[in-house]
């Protein structure tokens, strides 16, 4: 009896130690603990801004490599890690999770999800990251399951099937934890899925609510789909959304309608594809939406990170969402009401002749995909894409990775839907391979190039450019010391002056950067980490290889 009591007491102590490591309150105030990186986007406002300021324009040139984590996979490393109280949690492709000591780079545990023999996602077996709530990590898998893992041991707590992967559904997005729920949605915009966002009870994995991104019969918006085209209408979910606690709204960007390049097969605006949706966090009910590209013809997924900023708009403080869209336009929306405030091209675009006062884009004539092929700007990877942008309250600027002067020839043909198979209704031919390439840059600069671009969020006007020879798939981090960190396909990781765009430091990592940098502290010392190629690199001030423990 005595022994039982002791065991019970120990269990209670252990439970106390292991649970509530990251209660939701910490996620709400993530910006106040810059020593950590608690969500995919750094905070629920998704600004990719840190208050850390030890690394400055004066000393950034002294950054040195501390440690490298090498993934076992050859797939593209697209993940943004989490850092929680000295432990980094990162996903390696396809669906492996590693818990790493931030001081030494040594792993505590590795969890390997048992993958099916084949998966059916469109564009590489990638994963973008995790969410944490309490002492639980949440992982979406390529076979469309949502897993809860114990953050201390890496052991599985529960496993919920989200969708049928053999029909083209898969999860690549880092989940978002809001209150007591975890929100995810499926990728599969090129597989004829019917997309959705769904919230799951963080304790049990039970589905609590679901919002359909292709409106089903009986739901508002279904009238924007001809016939049954909503059933294969896409609206995929593959980049993490944001949350405003004051409004209790979750904001999320949605993917392209399917088939991608044949809008005749899905006549209508195709709600809620290529949109931002504002959902009640408790019920999943739609509060408002804004559709960036109605009846999209060019694969302009609007999956970008919704950046929540409080700016001065026409002399008044305003709660806005800032959005650099794949369609080449920069937008500012009122995030309380969804009111359209601003839409202005940030790269060369030819598909639209402008946006009317109500915020609806006007399609330019002669730019639709065709059997013979039609050239249009931006190209199929967009003016920007899923790369995390940043808003710095210090500089007041919005930063994004953009593909400038970049076009594609868009083709169109009929296509029948078959479950799990490609469903694109055409093709897109760009001047260079747009997803992943060998390390050579040989095309002419007239075919497009990459920039880190700083915009005035109140006007959409360009403030400065950092021009690169190659395009870039890297996200952006800004800090309180007015530094900007990013990378590119050339394999460079670099730091810029966030006020001017001047290059301050650069390091060659040997392969494509297709992730976003993060910053945090180890024993009070600021570090910066970035994934490139198949590895994750960590930098800090001081001697190369000098570890803290």
């Amino acid at each position: 009896m005595k022994r039982l009591a002791l065991t019970a007491a120990l269990t209670a102590i252990m439970a106390g130690l292991l649970s509530a490591q990251v209660p939701f309150d910490r996620l709400l105030r993530a910006v106040d603990e810059p020593q950590n990186w608690l969500t995919y986007n750094g905070s629920l406002q998704s600004t990719h801004y840190s208050r850390l300021n030890q690394i400055t324009s004066e000393n950034v040139a002294n950054l040195s490599l501390k440690w490298v984590w090498q993934a076992q996979s050859l797939e593209k490393f697209e993940a943004t890690p989490l850092v929680v109280d000295g432990v980094m949690y990162v996903t390696e492709p396809p669906n492996t999770v590693a818990a790493i000591d931030t001081g030494t780079g040594r792993p505590y545990w590795i969890y390997q999800y048992p993958m099916p023999e084949t998966t059916y996602v469109c564009c590489g077996n990638v994963n973008r990251g995790l969410a944490i709530l309490g002492n639980t990590l949440f992982l979406g898998t390529l076979d469309a399951h949502l897993l809860a893992l114990d953050a201390t041991t890496g052991r599985k707590k529960w496993d919920t099937k989200v969708a049928e992967y053999t029909h083209g559904y898969g999860i690549t997005v880092a989940p978002l934890a809001v209150k007591d729920k975890v929100i995810v949605g499926p990728a599969g915009g090129e597989r004829g899925i019917a997309g959705f966002l769904a919230a799951y009870d963080a304790q049990t994995g039970r589905e609590v609510w679901r919002f359909n991104t292709t409106a089903h019969p009986g739901e508002p918006g279904n009238e924007t789909w001809a016939g049954d085209s909503w059933k294969t209408g896409g609206g995929s979910v593959w980049v993490t959304g944001s949350y405003d606690a004051d409004l209790n709204l979750v904001y999320w960007g949605t993917g392209n309608p399917g088939p991608d390049w044949n809008p005749a097969l899905r006549k209508g605006a195709n709600l809620y594809t290529d949109s931002v949706v504002a959902l009640d966090a408790d019920t999943g009910k739609l509060k408002w939406h804004y559709q960036f590209t109605p009846n999209d013809e060019w694969d302009f997924d609007s999956v970008q990170v919704p950046v929540l900023a409080d700016i001065t708009w026409k002399g008044q403080p305003r709660k806005v969402i800032l959005w650099g869209n794949r369609n080449g336009f920069f937008y500012a929306l009122d995030r309380t009401s969804g009111e359209f405030l601003l839409g202005k091209p940030f790269v060369k675009q030819t598909w639209s002749s402008g946006i009317d006062e109500a915020g609806k884009p006007i399609k330019a004539p002669g730019k639709s995909p065709s059997v013979a092929g039609t050239d249009a700007y931006p190209g199929v990877q967009g003016g920007t894409n899923w790369y995390s942008p940043s808003f710095s309250p210090g500089t007041g600027l919005f930063y994004l990775t953009a593909w400038e002067d970049y076009h594609t020839t868009y083709f169109q043909w009929d296509q029948n839907y078959e479950p799990g198979k490609s469903f694109t209704g055409g093709a897109a031919r760009a001047p260079f391979q747009s997803l992943k390439r060998d390390p050579f840059i040989k095309w002419g600069p007239e075919w497009g190039y990459g920039v880190v671009r700083a915009l005035n969020p109140a006007t959409g006007e360009k403030v400065w450019d950092y021009k690169m020879r190659d395009v870039s798939d890297a996200g952006i981090l800004t800090t309180a010391s007015d530094l900007l960190f990013s990378g590119n396909r050339e394999g460079y990781f670099f730091a810029l002056d966030a006020k001017t765009g001047k290059e301050l430091w650069k390091c060659y990592l040997g392969s494509q950067v297709a992730s976003a940098p993060i910053t945090y502290t180890v024993d009070g010392v600021q570090y910066v980490s970035i994934a490139a190629g198949h590895s994750l690199f960590t930098f800090g001030l001081g001697r190369t290889g000098e570890l803290r423990h």
């Binding site: 797939e75 084949t118 077996n125 198979k421 760009a430 391979q433 050579f440």
Partner: protein
């Protein structure tokens, strides 16, 4: 008929995951290679592959599949594996197709490569080979047997270029120069002239094979001026060969389809 049935039986083994256990001394042959299969393969290609590999398989987000050789193996078996299993580390994922569809796709890819290559040339390839040797072409080109490296390797050129493309390349070498053979011409801030074949480039630097045959890297910041030349250093044969000799040389180039002589094999 019996042979076809046997091959279909073999196909069923693929479907049950037996491929990895095959005795590789037995060559797996495509059981669906009729013109109807090619047409069906083309339809499947459009719906399943063209989004990445382009409407005519000549490349887009993914690589061209009409160069005559495939990066992950040229055999039917290798192509079958790539299509059904994907390629780790690339956006090429596994495709949910039944075995017949996969074989038809392979038949289409084979036909696309043949179609892109040179057809029957009217000239005499033997005399063309002599002209090739006498003209010093091998100083810059490899063509099956060892030659120079300054120009493109011509070992497979017959399966990658049409007759008219071959003739144009001889008469007007600068008409279409692959970016692999663009050259850098620049002057450093200290007045040194730099020329060479541009092998790579990024925001800050060029990697070149310079005119002395040395591999070197050049910082753009050290260059006062530079330009990328998209012309070929190869001399034109215009006016230097009789029409019949030109036909012979084109006919010889059209026979260059790799060591085995088989389309698409390497």
């Amino acid at each position: 008929m019996n042979r076809r049935v046997a091959r279909i039986a073999l196909l069923c083994c693929f479907g049950t995951g037996w491929l990895g256990a095959q005795d590789h001394t037995n060559v797996i042959r495509n059981p669906f290679d009729t013109p109807e299969d090619v047409a069906a393969g083309q339809r499947s290609f459009r719906s399943q592959c063209a989004a990445c590999h382009g409407p005519d398989a000549s490349g887009a987000a993914g690589p061209s599949l009409t160069t005559g050789s495939f990066r992950h193996g040229n055999s039917d078996e290798a192509l079958y594996t790539v299509i059904t299993k994907g390629v780790e580390g690339t956006p090429m994922v596994a495709f949910k197709l039944d075995g017949r569809e996969v074989w038809q796709l392979i038949s289409f890819l084979r036909s696309a490569n043949v179609a892109k290559g040179a057809g029957q040339a009217p000239g005499n390839p033997g005399r063309g080979a002599q002209i090739f040797n006498d003209s010093g072409c091998a100083q810059c080109h490899t063509a099956g047997k060892p030659g120079g490296f300054a120009g493109p390797d011509l070992t497979y050129i017959g399966s990658r270029r049409s007759l008219i493309q071959l003739e144009t390349a001889l008469l007007d070498p600068s008409a279409e120069v692959d970016p692999d053979y663009w050259s850098l011409r620049g002057r450093t801030k200290t007045g040194q002239t730099i020329t060479g074949t541009r092998m790579n480039e990024d925001t800050d630097s060029f990697q070149i094979l310079d005119s002395s045959g040395r591999l070197r890297s050049v910082w753009k910041a050290d260059l006062a001026t530079y330009e990328i030349l998209r012309t070929s250093p190869m001399p034109s044969f215009k006016g230097k060969l009789k029409p019949s000799e030109l036909e012979d040389l084109v006919a010889y180039l059209a026979t260059l389809r790799g060591p085995s002589g088989r389309e698409g094999q390497q």
